[in-house]
């Protein structure tokens, strides 16, 4: 009895060793570093980004024939690498450019990742990608919009999102259209947080607007970590601009919404540039007192049963019920483009991945996002990125409202607030 028990135990152990050996020979994994703000003030955005990457990995590593032409969905793993699985090594940038840079270094030298993805805040993408450039490791970014990221002559940095100049153009065309319809858009105020993201987006919007004869009447920079925004709201209340454009992260966007209500200030038109205003926790916290705020987006859930709808359902299981928002969807798109390039490269050699990224040519039906496609220029910027204007009409869900030919619902003015 006793010897039989021991024999059984031993043979079970031997079998598990044999199985484990066989499994590791077959399942080569491709390690990708993913740097996100998992703690610190932007943790809410980082945690949603992480859920988006995990959803992408589920789609890549398992068979999902229902997702149409989305690359890597049909079969399990990366076909170009013999069905190798993709693994993301998450690293926390803590909201600090220095930490983000250290994490990039650690992922490359210690975790031996083949490529990097991230890092949400433009200011951190800036420092982290400088490390990957130095080590010759591809870095694909799906969400940071500061213009200068692709103006540094980097050879290993690729970006799929529309950038500041694209969205400035979207806002400009939108405002021109509104003006043609009789809406007053002459005095524009920009309120922006003062790190890389807010500063660069604000300066690009100002220069694009000025080139087209729209002047910026008021420019209010502020620190996103602030405890109070009453003075900024009072400045707006005094100057009475026709249009207020806000470039904010989540915590400050929430403070602005609350303060505008308590000081009873409603601009005739309010545009919140993505980030903070797209964060699901912004909508849950203050959506009801921010009704009518405009935003930009390249993401739309789509009709029930469509690939984007199914992806959103998968994402909700990982995010604790939150819908996929524009920022997280852009992060997911960046990750897909990177994995698609590794798959086409058929190798984890950095130079081959780089060559495959340069050759990327994805069509609209191969994307999660509503871009016209993904194709990089010499600087690594996606030249086919585009977006829509959306509006938080009911305080709960953004609906696309512009351009007219792509949307069903017309924009509602003036800004309703609460």
């Amino acid at each position: 009895m006793k010897s039989g028990y021991i024999f059984g135990l031993l043979s079970a152990a031997a079998m598990s060793v044999a199985l484990a050996g066989a499994a590791s020979a077959q399942d080569k994994t491709v390690k990708i570093g993913a740097i996100y703000p998992l703690s610190g003030n932007a943790a809410s955005a980082g945690v949603h980004g992480k859920a988006a990457i995990e959803t992408a990995i589920d789609i890549i590593n398992n068979t999902h024939p229902e997702l149409g032409n989305l690359p890597l969905a049909k079969n399990a793993g990366l076909a170009g690498l013999g069905g190798a699985k993709v693994e993301a090594i998450f690293a926390d940038n803590q909201g600090s450019p220095a930490v983000g840079q250290n994490q990039a270094l650690r992922l490359i030298t210690e975790e031996k990742v083949v490529a990097l993805n991230g890092a949400y805040q433009s200011g951190i993408t800036l420092t982290a990608s400088a490390i990957s450039e130095k080590y010759g490791i591809p870095f694909v970014n799906g969400e940071s919009v500061a213009a200068n990221l692709t103006e540094r002559g980097f050879k290993w940095f690729f970006r799929t999102t529309p950038v500041a100049s694209d969205l400035a153009k979207i806002y400009l065309d939108f405002l021109k259209d509104m003006k043609a319809g009789g809406v007053k858009t002459d005095g524009v105020a920009i309120v922006h947080e003062n790190t890389e993201y807010g500063t660069s987006v604000a300066s690009v919007i100002s220069s694009v607007f000025k080139e087209n004869g729209l002047s910026i009447a008021l420019d209010i920079p502020y620190s996103a970590n602030t405890t109070d925004v009453q003075s900024q709201v009072l400045q707006l209340k005094e100057k009475k601009p026709d249009v207020v454009i806000m470039v904010s992260y989540t915590s400050d966007a929430i403070l602005y919404a609350k303060t505008m209500q308590s000081l009873d200030y409603k601009p005739p038109m309010l545009i919140g540039d993505d980030s903070g205003f797209s964060d699901p926790s912004f909508i849950k916290a203050v959506g009801k007192i921010s009704q009518g705020v405009f935003n930009r987006s390249s993401w739309s859930v789509g009709a029930p049963g469509s690939p984007t709808f199914l992806i959103n359902e998968m994402y909700k299981k990982k995010s604790g019920g939150d819908d996929l928002d524009d920022t997280s969807a852009r992060q997911m798109q960046g990750f897909f483009v990177l994995c698609d390039a590794i798959d086409r490269a058929g190798s984890t050699e950095p130079a081959k991945i780089q060559a495959a990224l340069k050759a990327t040519d994805l069509k609209p039906d191969q994307l999660v996002m509503g871009y016209k496609g993904v194709k990089f220029d010499d600087k690594g910027q996606n030249i086919l990125a585009s977006g829509l204007v959306i509006q938080l009409q009911d305080g709960e869900n953004y609906v696309p409202v512009w351009p007219k030919d792509k949307t069903k619902t017309p924009p509602v003015l003036p800004y309703k607030g609460w």
Partner: protein, 287 residues
């Protein structure tokens, strides 16, 4: 004076009262035992979450949330005193700093783990909305926080200067060995000081939650302000923290309005450093 400027100053005063409210607990701990509690901002954060939980479970506002937060935090204060502070006080200064700093991270990431990273808020009209006084907008929730700040700071001040409990606590703070010879138990007094300080901080958190966002990292943002308020007011001086809080609130508001929001910290901190240059003990601290 234009009505906008009056609004700026009123806003600054209300903001300053809140600064004073969440700084009083910090200054009390410092005055009692020369310990800088780096977990202070995270105590405020816990108070906010208690108010949030009370509202979610019972659907009631800060009138219940604040007392509950005071109780929860006071209990936590006693646990922290016996579990951590009593031992680190025997160690070098560095152990005290790192001990409370470690506690801050523990609290922050426990909440992070329990509640997630999402930003949350209490409903806007939980404390009577906003009213208009001759064109000046006053938010009821901020006014309530301001009034409670006055009550709590004067209460603490009276407790320390007018009661036998306060005298005993101060005696321990002055010379714990001598106090022990007089029959006062230093351990009990210091545990009470932690309970009171943490309880006051819990009330502050519960009230701030009615007009601020709630997130695990909010203690970082608020903690810095508390340290500046306490050092400007004079470490250990409860009325000093009140005056300093009001001062900082108004200076921040006015400079953000006149010079620009990005410059308000420069203005506040340069005035702060200049002031400490001439009076390092702070407004009402003992030299």
């Amino acid at each position: 004076m234009s009505s906008i400027l009056v609004q700026v100053i009123v806003g600054g005063l209300l903001l300053g009262a809140v600064y004073a409210l969440f700084s009083s607990g910090l200054t009390l701990i410092w005055g009692m035992m020369n310990i800088v509690n780096f977990a202070h901002g995270d105590f405020v954060m816990l108070g906010m979450y208690v108010a949030f939980v009370v509202w979610t479970l019972l659907g009631v506002g800060p009138f219940v949330g604040a007392p509950v937060a005071a109780l929860v935090l006071a209990t936590l204060g006693i646990i922290v005193y016996f579990g951590l502070i009593r031992s680190v006080m025997k160690g070098p200064m560095l152990a005290q700093i790192l001990g409370t700093f470690g506690l801050a991270l523990l609290l922050r990431y426990s909440v992070f783990w329990g509640f997630g990273a999402n930003f949350m808020t209490l409903p806007e009209n939980l404390v009577g909305g906003t009213f208009d006084v001759f064109g000046i907008r006053i938010q009821a929730s901020r006014l309530l926080a301001g009034v409670v700040a006055l009550l709590v700071t004067s209460g603490l001040h009276l407790l320390l200067t007018r009661t036998s409990l306060g005298s005993k606590m101060l005696a321990v703070a002055e010379d714990s060995t001598a106090a022990q010879l007089m029959g006062i138990r230093p351990d009990t007094m210091q545990a009470i000081a932690w309970a009171i300080a943490a309880g006051a901080t819990g009330i502050a958190g519960a009230l701030i939650a009615t007009f601020f966002y709630i997130a695990p990292t909010v203690g970082e943002t608020l903690g810095i302000v508390a340290f500046v308020t306490v050092s400007l007011g004079g470490f250990g001086s409860v009325p000093g923290a009140l005056v300093a809080g009001l001062l900082i609130g108004v200076i921040e508001s006015v400079s953000a309005y006149w010079i620009g929001a990005v410059y308000k910290d420069i203005v506040v901190y340069s005035l702060f450093l200049c002031f400490l240059w001439f009076r390092p003990q702070g407004l009402m601290g003992k030299s």
